[in-house]
């Protein structure tokens, strides 16, 4: 079975600075997807960024980028130029590529606070 581990329960960053959130996962599959989701206090999960395992190039979405290390099974999220609105819970998630659709397996989450 696949597992996702986020070892940082809490992280803090100064506004305008850069922060990196860590995620490791375990799988025997070779093809899969990885995601970072943001969950503000409103509870609505919002997709931040996704990575296909077969792509070597790291995904980037504006201020958000990932460092995908397939051999090490590591998938960290870097937030540049942090803004107050980035404060939220961040979840790393794994999804098998085999079937249409398919469940997400989430990590425990990292609570990010942004200091003005």
């Amino acid at each position: 079975a696949q597992t996702v581990t986020q070892s940082q329960p809490e992280m803090s960053v100064q506004e305008a600075e850069t922060v990196t959130l860590s995620c490791t996962y375990d799988t025997s599959e070779s093809d899969y997807y990885l995601f970072w989701y943001k969950q503000p206090p409103s509870r609505q999960m919002i997709l931040v960024i996704r990575q296909e395992a077969y792509k070597q190039q790291n995904a980037t979405e504006n201020r958000f980028s990932v460092n995908f290390q397939k051999a090490a099974k590591s998938f960290s999220l870097k937030i540049s130029d942090s803004q107050l609105g980035d404060a939220a819970m961040y979840f790393c998630a794994y999804r098998s590529a085999g079937a249409r659709g398919g469940k997400l397996i989430f990590g425990q989450g990292t609570e990010l606070s942004v200091k003005p």
Binding site: A97, R100, G101, K103, L104
Partner: protein
Amino acid sequence: GAGVSQTPSNKVTEKGKYVELRCDPISGHTALYWYRQSLGQGPEFLIYFQGTGAADDSGLPNDRFFAVRPEGSVSTLKIQRTERGDSAVYLCASSSGLAGDEQYFGPGTRLTVT
């Protein structure tokens, strides 16, 4: 267009009662997912529908939990004989059903069993 909606937003019930939680997916989305999120934890998968049928129900914790999607749109999660341990936020998500597609989440229903 409208996103995923869930009703009620909050539900308080007594131990042993029956509850129904409703999810309205994004129009046209064939895949629908239910997750349960306990306090301070990541969401845990419960069940996934492709159209009207349950494609994967491996996450349902026991036979007190049941979900339906009779017309391939709205889904209802049903919990019988509720227990205090069922207290959590129940999240619904929908997607187009294509491989690796984005799952769009609703705001969740917070269930409290007293």
